[in-house]
């Protein structure tokens, strides 16, 4: 193994920030009470949760009582989709989602289809921007919910959620957005952006794993997914994860404070990475939108090589990244997102995702690109596809 680690996989998860951890620690052994308890030990956790809820709501300009804590983004996504067709709002039996949603959405859709509900998957263009006309055409009197992510986790494309929300409301349909990648990264205003439901998770922005929330617009009622006590206004049972919520609150506060500065730094690092790779490595192509994308995200296809072997090569030099190749996931097909934007299977297999954070440096990026260049060269020198390409080119 390499003696240093360069972490360029911040869309998978982030390191908990020091300030976040410090704020969480007292809630394990000192203020360990149940925030629902009436006795003295319930008070400090209850107040801390209230404060965290306010900080978290502020990021998306919501009211604190519209934030419902969950175990994370996947629970929030599952909850809203299942409740949309099964809950008290049961307007209809049909939901519309984009083809590039996270598996928390897509796999829940599979369950809905198995249970007899209808799902329409709307396509995206070559940059990953969802097709608005296709959404409008898909709406029927049975449509209960439209769900389109705020920003895609693989290619970083930012969707026009405000317009999609307006379209949904024009047809009296509820709108959900999975903002797991976007929350605290890009400016979201749930009222301005016509959002009825929004999913987010703490560990993508320097918070702890295992805590997230579902924003539910006031006046919209849904059934619980997790049944239990009266926590979260009676629609999400389970003892409140006080340290997690407190950590999430701190992470949200920090994210709000320096959103612009952080985005600027990430963009500089990311753009430097993209510029160097596209300039110095032939037959490499950027996936996703050139400008409408998350500040830290770069997704690049390297023709004639397969992503897992490239990932392994980088891993040996201490560089942590992700790939859209099937070989890395255990499934047969490469990333559904890359296929949805029109990539051939071969090129989807040869894709890598780099996601920088403000903790990275230019040196990190330069080192990663240097190693990447060597690795791509080595793997191409072994690739029969590259051989065939060069021979055909000469012929």
């Amino acid at each position: 193994m390499a003696d240093k680690t360069i972490y360029l996989d911040n869309a998978s998860t982030t390191r908990v920030r020091k300030e976040v951890l410090d704020e969480m620690l007292p809630y394990f052994m000192e203020y360990y009470g149940n925030s629902a308890s009436i006795h003295a030990l319930g008070k400090a956790p209850r107040e801390a949760v209230k404060e965290a809820r306010e900080k978290i709501a502020k990021v998306i300009k919501a009211n604190p009582d519209e934030i419902y804590f969950t175990s994370g983004g996947s629970e929030s996504d599952t909850w809203v989709l299942k409740s949309a067709v099964m809950g008290p709002h049961k307007k209809g039996s049909h939901v519309i989602v984009s083809a590039i949603e996270h598996h928390a959405i897509l796999n829940t859709c599979d369950l809905l289809v198995k249970s007899g509900y209808k799902v329409t998957y709307v396509p995206v263009d070559k940059y990953g921007i969802v097709d608005m006309d296709a959404i409008e055409k898909a709406i029927t009197p049975e449509t209960a919910l439209i769900s389109v992510m705020t920003a895609n986790n693989e290619i970083g494309t930012i969707e026009p959620i405000k317009e999609i929300g307006a379209l949904a409301h024009k047809h009296n349909v509820l709108f959900h957005t999975d903002a797991v990648q976007a929350y605290g990264q890009v400016d979201i205003d749930v009222t301005r952006d016509n959002v009825d439901f929004l999913s987010a998770s703490a560990h993508k922005l320097g918070g702890p794993k295992g805590v997230g929330f579902l924003y539910i617009r006031k006046g919209v009622r849904i059934d619980p997914l997790i049944c239990g006590g009266e926590q979260e206004r009676g629609i999400r049972g389970g003892t409140t994860n006080t340290p997690g919520v407190v950590g999430f609150g701190k992470a949200a506060e920090l994210a709000m404070e320096n959103m612009e500065a952080r985005a600027k730094k990430e963009r500089e690092l990311r753009d430097h990475l993209i510029d160097r790779v596209l300039k110095e490595i032939p037959y490499s192509y950027l996936n996703g939108h050139p400008t409408q994308r998350l500040p830290g995200n770069a997704n690049i296809s390297f023709h004639f090589i397969e992503g897992e072997s490239l990932l392994m090569s980088l891993n040996m030099k201490g560089i942590c990244i992700s790939t859209g190749s099937a070989c890395a996931s255990g499934s047969l097909d490469p990333s559904h997102v890359l296929l949805a934007i029109g990539l051939e299977h071969q090129h989807a297999h040869g894709s890598l995702r780099f996601t920088v954070s403000d903790e990275n440096t230019m040196e990190d990026v330069d080192y990663a690109v240097d190693v990447l260049k060597e690795s791509v060269e080595r793997l191409r020198s072994m690739s029969p596809l590259y051989d065939d390409f060069i021979k055909n080119k000469k012929a």
Binding site: S309, C327, P384, L385
Partner: protein, 145 residues
């Protein structure tokens, strides 16, 4: 799928693959796999026409770490063998020589076995001979279906 999931031998054969390259005017060349699935192997064999002994074997592979490692190991294992012996090389033997593969990577070892067979088939075709038990390989590397 990476660290930990692969044996040290797989990592070694991926990092320092043996027999990478081509053999000019090879006695037999076999290419198997499919770009759609993410694995293509091409194996080159240099075979002594009199003794039918494989004097040299080389490979080029597009694929994951396991695909590279199985190509490397399979070429190592057929060198010095007769054509008939090489035909007996199974994916299981390649896997065992690598101290095992993760379940989802077993198809890589099958591909290595097929690539050897495809190269032997090419050799048989070029020389108008029949090798007992050898079947015509599939060749669909650019097939997008």
């Amino acid at each position: 799928m990476y660290d930990g999931a692969y044996s040290d031998k797989v990592i070694d054969h991926f990092t320092n693959p043996r027999n990478v390259g081509e053999i000019e005017n090879a006695s037999g060349v076999g290419t198997v796999g499919n770009a759609k699935c993410g694995d293509i192997m091409r194996i080159f064999l240099d075979i002594d026409p009199d003794t039918h002994i494989i004097k040299d074997a080389k490979f080029k592979t597009f694929g994951c770490g396991a695909a590279v490692a199985t190509s490397s190991m399979a070429t190592e294992m057929v060198k010095g063998k007769t054509v008939e012996e090489a035909l007996q090389l199974t994916n299981k033997a390649v896997m065992e020589a690598l101290d095992g593969l993760p379940q989802v990577k077993i198809h890589c070892s099958l591909l290595a076995e097929e690539a050897v067979h495809a190269a032997l088939w090419d050799y048989a075709q070029k020389n108008g001979i029949t090798i007992e038990g050898l079947k015509k390989p599939k060749n669909d590397i650019y097939d997008e279906e």
